[in-house]
Amino acid sequence: MHLSDGILTPAACAVTYVAAAGAVGYSFKKLNQSLTDRTIPFTGMTAALVFAGQMVNFPLPGLRVSGHLLGGVLATALLGPWGGCIAMTLVLFVQAALFADGGWMSLGANVLNMGVVGAWGGYAVYSVVRRALGGGFRGSVVGAVLASWVSVLAAAALFCVEFRWGHPGPEFSRLCALMISFHSLIGVGEALITGLIISTVAAQRPELLERATGASTVSVAGMGRLLTAGLVTALAVAAFLAPFASEHDDGLEAAIQQTGIEPPEGPEPVAPLPDYRFPLPAGGWDQAAVSLAGIVGTVTVFVLALALGFVPAFGAKPAVRNPHA
């Protein structure tokens, strides 16, 4: 996920730097308003934790590669959106400065994709779902699972938009399809890891999660909870897939303009329909692949969220409240 330099154009780097600086600056401003003597130790420790957590590899079935936690939603569930955004920025900065992991010029894009989208966007989904489910163990876990998946997908989508800037062309839709397909699966992994970690925390130290979102929760009864969680996911998927449909159209239009709606050179296959005289670009399949990946991802994450949220707190001791909290 970490972008190194050279992938984005200087203009895209500059714009993402400005956007990320604005977002992180705003987070600092909000954090300063609520700055207590706890802020620095807890934000710093969470950043160190996310950094260390990224070193734990999770094996992928049938493959020799492995995935790891990204941690945007985890940080935001513990610290709230402002602290979470800053913690992720710290992680990305230290990775660039200490380990050359992610480029210096792409730092703005990395912060925007993983820090700002992960923390702010993740928090939006997390807090809505959590409140809809009435808070508590179930709400936290389902919220974290859905938020993690959506944030990974959003980061991938944002990267595609950034990459397109300076690398236009019909291949864009293919790249998007590839990125979105991969990341809808990577997002399932992220959702699973974050859900399991949050379930451990929610079972043993629930006040850590209460602190970040505030104690006020609005309970929605019965089937309403399920429907709300489903609706949020469906909306998120629709929101992310819609731009790609339009991006694909752009690519198609560009291709039509370039070729003047003439058949390409070389032997032309007999067209079954006059409307399909123009050869279907690979994007047609890409679109199907994107939709399929989206649907599979949505269903998987939704089932995952329900499964994790509705099982009793496995193996957990009764919640012990910290008397000093």
């Binding site: 780097c13 420790m45 094996p59 050359a100 970690i197």
Partner: protein, 205 residues
């Protein structure tokens, strides 16, 4: 007046950023410039005695993704975007590897402070850097203990489950540590305000 090591970190950071920016901004039709810059950075790495294996290991981690993006451009028959992505990525990655080896992190922070970054941000980075190794070592010990208990052979689902539980346990331990550290800081007069010692005089700001 910054001390000499601080000035060196200053120069190293500025030089790295300049090389990366130059690599990104010079058009790829002047590709010999990029190749020369890569050679210069490699020479600097050799002078800094960075092991070749470390450089190659780091490059190997990033190259698959870079090559994938580079090939996405190549399929259109234009070589320029592909070569640009490849050369610029390698150049900036090598420059960043050099910086990570030669500049100490606290000196980089000192430089950033003199460049006007907010004090809270620097204090947070300082705190994170201090506890990064503590948390990482704790994680290492926990994983070692876990591997010893499971004889290192587990199924995929239980590997995921136990790794996530391990991270959850690490999180709880890290937060307990943060609470203890916070108490210790309060006991030493911490009130949320960052105060620094001036290196030259030893006096407080």
């Amino acid at each position: 007046m910054p001390s000499p090591p601080a000035r060196r970190a200053d120069a190293a950071l500025a030089a790295t950023l300049a090389v990366i920016a130059a690599g990104l901004c010079i058009p790829i039709r002047f590709w010999p410039v990029h190749v020369c810059l890569i050679c210069v950075v490699f020479a600097a790495q050799t002078i800094a005695r960075i092991p070749l294996s470390a450089i190659l290991h780091r490059l190997a981690e990033f190259l698959p993704f870079i090559v994938m993006l580079s090939l996405a451009g190549l399929s259109r028959g234009e070589w320029e975007p592909s070569v640009a992505i490849l050369l610029q990525s390698v150049l900036s990655l090598m420059a960043a590897i050099w910086l990570a080896h030669v500049a100490k992190f606290d000196r980089i922070l000192q430089t950033l402070r003199s460049w006007g970054l907010p004090a809270v941000g620097i204090a947070l980075l300082d705190f994170m850097h201090r506890y990064l190794y503590v948390v990482s070592q704790e994680l290492h010990r926990m994983r070692q203990a876990q591997a010893a208990r499971s004889f290192g052979r587990v199924r995929i689902w239980s590997a995921w489950f136990s790794s996530a539980q391990l991270l959850g346990a690490l999180l709880l331990r890290a937060f307990s540590r943060a609470e203890r550290v916070h108490s210790a800081m309060c006991a030493r007069g911490w009130d949320g305000q960052v105060r620094l010692l001036d290196e030259a005089t030893g006096a407080r700001d």
